[in-house]
Every structure is written in C-alpha cells, then in structure tokens.
Amino acid sequence: MRHVLLIEDEPNIVEALSFIFLRDGWKVDAHSDGANAVATTVQTAPNAIILDVMLPNRSGFEILEELRSLPDYKDIPILMLTARGQSKDRDIAMARGASQYMTKPFSNAEVLQTMNALVGHLP
C-alpha cells in the first residue's frame, strides 16, 4: 500500500495534502515538528515522504541528510517542498539526495502525479 508521511508545520497545507492523497487511496501520516521527524519516520515506516524545508527546530535539509544516511531510507522517494523559491535551495536539496523538488504553491495534480511516479509499481 502506498503510504506517505507529510513532514510539514502548516496545518492548512497538511489538511490539503491529506485530502488529496487520501482520495487517491494513500495511507497518510503527518508530522509538524523538525526535531523528531526522523524518529516518526522510523516509527511510521512510510514508503514515500513529503518534506518541508522550513520547519520549527530543525531544517528539512538536515532531516533529509540524516534519512539518507540510514540504510533503510537511502532510496525512499522524498519530495521536498519549499516556499523559499530560491534556486540555491533546489541545488542543496538535490545534492543531499531529494528524489524530487517542488516550490509552493503547487498544483495538487502535479504533486500527486509526481509521488505516484516516484513510488511507481506500488498498487
């Protein structure tokens, strides 16, 4: 089953993304704080992650880096979302191993399509 973990601190954005993925038949978990994002990931064991860059207490880039250093998560699809809109952020994200990178505001269909493409063969 497709299972996405939303690591995002804006409640309204979490609600919108949850709505989209749930309708598409995904299992959805959400986490709003940077500090223990990695622990939640290990705990919930998703097969795809949507990760915000600007999170309270810890930056999305650091979380990305730590996840990629863990054997279980070095290949997991991770879509990075950022509102900062600078090309420098895209470079950093891709260099640290993001699977895909998107700038807010996004199109719902595009996010869904991208995630489905990343997850691929899963039903």
Partner: protein, 884 residues
C-alpha cells in the same frame, strides 16, 4: 653774536670735509694703502661713537641736575673694557669665526640660525635706537636754535631736524652702502668717525679750559665754586648708581652701533687690549670738565638757562664766537657719527634679517641669482637707512623734543640692554636654547615697553593716565611705575630691574624647559668652543688616517656610488688617479659636509674626529650626536605611526566589507523569509481552491475549506500591511500625529481592540495610569495591542495572566507587560525584535514574525525604547517613553 648763516656755512664745510676724508680713506683702502687705518688708535677713536650728543651736551645737564651721577654713563663702558678679555675678546673671536655681521646675526646664529630671533633682535634694536636718533636730531636742532636766538629765524626747528636727517641719510647711503663686503667693514666711515672723535674731544677740552681759566679764576676757584654749589650736595643713591652703571655697561655691549665698531669693524683682536686702557682714558678726558662747566654755568648764566646747552651758551655769553663754533662742531660731530653708524648697523640688520628672508621666501626656490641678490640687498639697505632716519625724525616730532636729553638716552639704553641676557647666555651657556631666547627677549621687550617706553611719550599719548595711576585693567600691581606693588624705586632702576630680571628668568626657564635642535647644539659648541680651542673650531688638521678607511666608512653612510663619486672627484682635484685622495683639511671638510647630509652635522663631525684623531670628540659633540639620533628615532617613530595608521585603515576597510557582506546576507535572508511568508498562505489557498472545484465534495467540507481560504487570504493581507508599515517606519517616513493623551485611555483602547480577554486575564492598576503623555496615541495603541496579543498567543500558563505596570520617573514613563508564561529563552531574547524571528513554532503564531519588529520601530520613532525584561517569571517587555 655769531650769524646763523655763518654757522650753517661752516657746518656744510665741515660735512664736506668729512665726505672728503671718508672718500679718500675708501680709495686708499681699495688700493691696499690702508694699513695705517687698522691701528689700535683708530679702533679706540671709533669706539667714541659711544659719546653722542647726549654725552657731549647732556652730561653737563646731567651733572647740573643730579651731580656726579653722570659718571655712571662712563663707568659702565670702562668696566666692560677693563674686563675685555672676559666678554669682548670672546665676542670678537666668535664674530670672526662665524662671520657675524651684527648683533642680530650673533643671536640668530647662536640659536640654530633662527630667522625669527634675528628678526626679533632687529626689531628690538630699531625700537631701542629710534629714540636715540631722535635725541641726536634734537640736540642738533636745539644747538642751532641757540645761535638763531635774536636773529631772524628763517629755519624752524622742525625744518632743521628734517634737513639734518636728510643729510645724514645721504652720507650714510653713500659711505655705508657703497659696496657689499662679507665682513661688513666700512673703512671710510670708520676714519670719518675717528676724525669726529678728535673734533669733539678737542672741542669739549677747549670749552673746559676756557671755562676754568677764562671765565672762572683757575682750578682753585673752580674747586671752591664746586664746594659751594648744590651739585656737591647731591646725595648719592647707591641703587641708582649700580643700576645706571649696569645699564650703560649693558648698552655698551648691545647697542647695534657699538657692536658694529667694536666687534664687526674690529680687524685685530689685539686692538682690544689697547682700547681697554685708551678708551677709558678718552672717556676720562671727555668727563674732566663736565662738573666745572656745570658749576660755572649755574653760577654765571641767568637762572633758568638750559644746562644741556652750557657747553654752547658759556662761550657765547663771553662773546667767544670761535670757541662756540668749535663747541657746536663738537656736538654736531657727536650727533652725526652716532647716527651714521647706527643707521649702517641697523640697515644691515634689517636687510639681512627682515627684508632678504621675506624676499627670498616670496621668490620661491631656485630663483636666487647672485647679481640679483646683491642689488636687492643694497637697495633694501638704502631704503632701510631712509626708514630708520624717518623713524627717528617722527619720534622727535611726536615726543615734542621736550624730554631732557639724558632721560631719552636712558630709555634707549634700557631697550637694547634687553638683548644682554640672551647674548651672554649664548656665548657662555651651553644649554641656552632658541625657545629660551625668544621667551627672554619677548618678555624683556614687553616689560620695557610697558614700564619705560610707552610712558615716555607722556600720559594719554600711548598709555592712559588711568593706567599709569591704577595699573592695567585697574590692577594695582600692574602699575607701570610700581610693578608688583614695589614702590619708591627710582623709575629707571625700577624699569631696568624688572625688565632684565623677568627677561633673564624667562630665558633661563625657557632654556631649561626646552630641548635644543641639533643645529642649535652644533652652534652652541661652535660659539662656546670658539674661544676655548683658540682657533676656528671645525678646521681639520692634516689627518693621520688612511683614505681607504675613510672611503669604507663613507660608503656605509652615503652609499657606495655616491661615496666613490665624492672620493674620485676629490682625488681628481688633487691631480690623482683613482679613488683615494690625500686626507687634506679641504678634503676632510668636503667629506664632512657630504656625510652631514645623511647623518647630521654633529654626527659627521664626531665620526670624522674619531677616525682622523686630530680633533677630540667632546662631550658636547656626543650630546649633539645623541640629539640627532633621537631625531632620527622620532622620525622612524613617525613612520611606524604611519604604518599603524595604514593597518587601522585596512582593518576599517575589512570591517566595512564584512558589514556589506553581512547586509547582503541579511537581504537574501529577508527576501527568502518574505517569499516563505507569502507562499505559505498562497499554497493553502491554491490547494483548497483546486479541491473546491471537485464536484463530489461533501456539504460539510465545502464551507470548512472556504473558510480556510478566507483565513489565509486575511493572513496574506495582514502580512502585506505589516511589511508596508515596517518599511515606512524603518525609512523614517512615518508622520507621527503627536498630541497629549491619557495613558489609561490608550491602554483601554488597546485592550478593547486586542479582544483577548477570553484567553488571558489582564491586570492593570488604573490609578497609576492616570498620566498625560505627549505621543501618537494610535501608534502607541498598536504597540500595546501587539504585546497583549502576543501574551494571549504565547502564554502557556494554566490560567494565563498579563500584568501591566506603569511607573513614573522624572525623565521617563515605563510601561511593563509581564505574563505568567514560560518567558523567552535567554538565547532568543536578543533576536525577538528582529524581523521574521519567532521564538515558538509557526503554527501557533499565525503571524509573520513582524509584530515586535514593528513595535520596536514605533517606539524608536516616538523617542523611547522597548526591551525584553529578563528575570521575571514569564515573558516581560518594558517600554520606556520620554516625558514631554
């Protein structure tokens, strides 16, 4: 009675005769037949210009008024001459070695060739000599008017003075500035004044003999008359005697004309030895008949006759016209010889120390052609002579010619005596410095002017009666005749005592407190050792050293190429090949000059002295070397300071660069923050807009999502408002609407607008809020709302509470907002006022993190301060506002 016409005719003949003598002497000197002119006798006679009309006529007047006191005027020079080996020999030797041309040149050279000192001494000499020249003009005028009495007076006295001054100017220009001589010697003039010396001595002796044996009944009768006359009754005041003797000795040494004949015109040191007894003898002869003439004059002539003119009026009263004529010529000689030499000496000083320096400076560098300078110097001397005589004439006109001859003479004496301390210090005292000399001279000049020169014109001319009676600015101790409250002194003694004392004190103090420059050191050694070493101090004996050693030393100091060049040129001049000239005195001098350019004169001299061995290195030389070294060190310190400056500048540049980089980073951070804050609500709006387009949405979800869109839109609007607000506040473009308002009303309004009473209990103390304050109430309300909302939003206590405390201080009103929550971390306290900083997480804040930044800008614009107040239980903010 002698006719005036005859008198003028004889005077003109006499002047023509003097012209002839001077002209003939100059010619003889030019063709080398002037050896007889440089004899001790001529030298001694030339010193007689000390005896001016003042001594010729005035001594008798002096004696008639104050008895034997006139002798002091002769005692001073006698003392100086008897002790000639002490001061005079030294002066003559130094002047010879250093080619000194005047007393101004002496002082200037001694103190590091200071142009300032030369100019100052020149000015003092001119000021001190002007009354003296006026005195001579006056004596000529009054003596002529004696003859004019009873005849038709075709010549007014001012006319006589004017013509005399003009005639003297012509004579002085003709014989004093005929050519430029490095030694400033004028043989024609010297011979002319020697002739005049004989004339005046003969005249006075003749009058004396006639008075004693012609008018009175011989020596015995005269002695009896002296005993009977009031002259013998005069009490001798010791203070005045000592004072006047000192004064005349000082003047004898310092008078520009005396310096000219005694030091500058001196051709042989040995002449001094002869003069040391011959000149006192001359003075003795001059004074021999003074008392008899005075006594007999007082006896024979009608009461009220001017005793200054007894020398003329006694022969005239006895119808001895020939003798009267001789007496007149004696007085005329005394006056003219003094004026001529004084004008020559002063014009040399003016042109060398005032005109030429100014002219050279105005020409700039590199424009000094030899012929050019000569004509300028001669022209300036001629003009100076005219100026000096004009000044004397003007002084005569202004002072009205009324003062007795003796008192004018004393004023002049005291004026030039101010140079004495500096001159003696200069030739005896190693540690005398330029600063000290300047201080002493200026001090002496000021005190002399104030106590003697200015009052001499009489009250209300240059100095008011008020000042004379009650002192300057009404200060009793500044009375010109009783300085520092010391009364009862004779005015002359008083002025001389104070001016010389303060002058010497300033000179010594200034010298001790200041450091001489290397050039001054060198000159001090030159001047003082000029006497001790017995010959020119810096001459080199043929050295007992090897030219190769000298070359290797020179190379180290001035560099190989330059040293080799210097040595090769010198060798060529000696007719030798290669680089090693013989160490002749000439070569050593050249080498010393070459080295001096790099290491300073004293060091160069000491180095060569060490190697050549001919001239011992003295302690003074070593001190001079130390001085130069100190200067070089000072220079290198300056360089170090410069390099320090450079380092500072570099650091400043680096700091500025860092600041710019930081600003640029801040700008980037700010932009990405804004981007984040704008995009976040837009993301929600876009996502839910898309979701709302979905047809199979439940009826419960639809309004819920629509409200989210509305909220996020409001959030966007708020953010834009805040950003605009902040930008206006930060740029200082805000227009404040200042007016008086009650603090309580502002807080009431804020509390109502914040509308947070449901979330937090706000405690206030209404009594203390009843304060009127000049502020912008709307803006202040905005700040209060912000702080109340923040407390409501962030305070996590079980029962949230916000306490508002108002405190009144004399200078400020403080308003504290303290909640009972967790407060702000120590680490975050500094940054909470920055834009987009939020201590807690985004979700709860619901703002962009601009609130406190805006608060800070508003309070700053209102002239107050907002700060986080640590150490309270919860979060605490303090606002302090200025009182009106």
């Amino acid at each position: 009675m002698l006719s005036l016409d005859l008198l003028i005719f004889v005077s003109l003949i006499y002047v023509a005769f003097l012209f002839g003598v001077a002209f003939w002497a100059e010619r003889a000197s030019d063709v080398g037949r002037g050896g007889w002119m440089r004899t001790p006798l001529i030298y001694t006679l030339s010193l007689s210009i000390y005896c001016t009309a003042w001594t010729f006529y005035g001594a008798v007047g002096f004696a008639a008024r104050s008895g034997l006191e006139f002798l002091t005027i002769y005692l001073g020079p006698t003392v100086v001459l008897i002790g000639w080996w002490l001061i005079l020999r030294r002066l003559v030797r130094i002047a010879r070695a250093e080619r000194i041309t005047s007393i101004a040149d002496l002082v200037s050279s001694r103190f590091g060739k200071s142009a300032l000192l030369g100019g100052l001494v020149t000015v003092m000499a001119v000021v001190g000599t002007t009354p003296y020249i006026a005195l001579q003009l006056q004596s000529v005028t009054t003596s002529i008017s004696v003859f004019a009495k009873g005849t038709q007076n075709i010549l007014s006295s001012t006319n006589i003075a004017l013509w005399t001054a003009a005639g003297l100017a012509v004579f002085t220009i003709l014989f004093g500035t005929r050519n430029l001589d490095v030694n400033e010697r004028h043989s024609g003039v010297v011979i002319a004044i020697a002739v005049e010396a004989i004339v005046k001595l003969l005249a006075l002796l003749a009058v004396g003999v006639f008075v004693v044996w012609g008018l009175a009944g011989g020596a015995g009768d005269v002695l009896a008359r002296i005993d009977a006359s009031p002259i013998s009754q005069w009490e001798v005041s010791t203070g005045r005697w000592i004072g006047l003797t000192f004064l005349s000795a000082a003047a004898f040494l310092c008078l520009p004309r005396m310096f000219q004949v005694m030091v500058v015109e001196n051709s042989e040191e040995s002449h001094l030895a002869t003069a040391s007894w011959a000149f006192p003898l001359y003075l003795l002869l001059m004074s021999l008949f003074v008392i008899p003439i005075a006594v007999v004059g007082l006896d024979i002539l009608p009461a009220g006759s001017n005793p200054d003119l007894f020398v003329l009026t006694l022969p005239l009263s006895a119808e001895q016209n020939g003798l009267a004529m001789l007496a007149f010529l004696g007085g005329f000689s005394s006056a003219t010889s003094m004026v001529i030499v004084a004008a020559i000496a002063l014009s040399t000083m003016i042109s060398n120390h005032i005109v030429t320096p100014i002219w050279l400076r105005s020409r700039g560098q590199g424009a000094t052609i030899s012929g050019d300078v000569r004509s300028v110097v001669l022209t300036s001397r001629r003009i100076s002579i005219i100026v000096i005589l004009t000044l004397g004439y003007l002084y005569y006109r202004i002072s009205g010619g009324g003062a007795a001859l003796a008192s004018i003479g004393l004023i002049s004496f005291a004026g030039v005596a101010q140079i004495l301390p500096v001159m003696l210090g200069g030739i005896f005292w190693h540690s005398a410095t330029k600063i000290g000399a300047l201080a002493g001279l200026i001090c002496g000049l000021v005190v002399w002017s104030y106590t003697m020169f200015l009052p001499s014109f009489g009250p209300e001319v240059l100095i008011s009666q008020e000042t004379i009676d009650h002192g300057l600015w009404g200060l009793q101790w500044l009375r010109p005749t009783a300085l520092f409250g010391i009364q009862g002194l004779d005015p002359v003694v008083h002025a001389v005592l104070w001016s010389i004392l303060l002058n010497s004190f300033a000179f010594v103090a200034g010298s001790i407190l200041s450091r001489p420059s290397p050039l001054e050191r060198v000159q001090a050694v030159q001047f003082i050792s000029a006497f001790e070493s017995g010959s020119s101090a810096r001459g080199w004996q043929r050295g007992a050293t090897d030219a190769e050693d000298l070359l290797s030393m020179a190379q180290r100091i001035i560099g190989a190429a330059q040293a080799q060049n210097l040595f090769r040129t010198a060798a060529q001049r000696q007719g030798k090949q290669g680089y090693l000239p013989d160490p002749t005195p000439q070569f050593l001098e050249t080498l010393e000059r070459g080295l001096a350019g790099s290491v300073g004169a004293a060091t160069a001299h000491a180095m060569l002295g060490q190697m050549v061995g001919g001239s011992a290195v003295t302690v003074e030389d070593l001190m001079a070397v130390a001085d130069e070294t100190a200067q070089i060190m000072e220079y290198s310190n300056q360089l170090e300071a410069k390099s320090g400056e450079l380092t500072t500048t570099a650091r400043k540049l680096r700091d500025a660069n860092d600041k710019l980089t930081k600003l640029s980073i801040q700008k980037d951070a700010f932009l990405s923050q804004i981007s984040h804050e704008l995009r976040t609500p837009m993301t929600s709006i876009r996502a839910f807009s898309e979701i709302l387009q979905n047809p199979d949405l439940s009826d419960g979800d639809r309004p819920k999502y629509a409200r989210i869109i509305e909220d996020e839109t409001q959030r966007l609007t708020r953010l834009l408002d805040d950003l605009l607000d902040l930008s206006v506040l930060e740029n200082g473009q805000v227009s404040l609407d200042l007016r008086q308002a009650r603090l309580r009303e502002i807080l009431d309004r804020a509390q109502a607008s914040a509308n947070v009473d449901e979330q937090i209990r706000i405690r206030r103390s209404a009594g203390r809020e009843d304060i009127s304050i000049l502020t912008d109430p709307d803006r202040l309300t905005q700040v209060f709302i912000n702080l109340m909302s923040n407390a409501a939003k962030y305070c996590e206590a079980q029962r949230p509470k916000l306490t508002v405390i108002v405190t009144e201080a004399p200078a400020a009103i403080t308003v504290d907002f303290i909640d009972n929550g967790a407060g702000v971390d120590h680490a975050n306290q500094d940054m909470i006022f920055e834009k987009f900083s939020r201590a807690s997480d985004h979700s709860k804040a619901g703002g962009a993190g601009l609130g406190l930044a805006i608060c800070r800008e508003i309070i700053t614009n209102l002239g107050g301060q907002i700060s986080y107040l640590p150490g309270q239980r919860g979060a605490a903010f303090r606002i302090s506002l200025p009182r009106d």
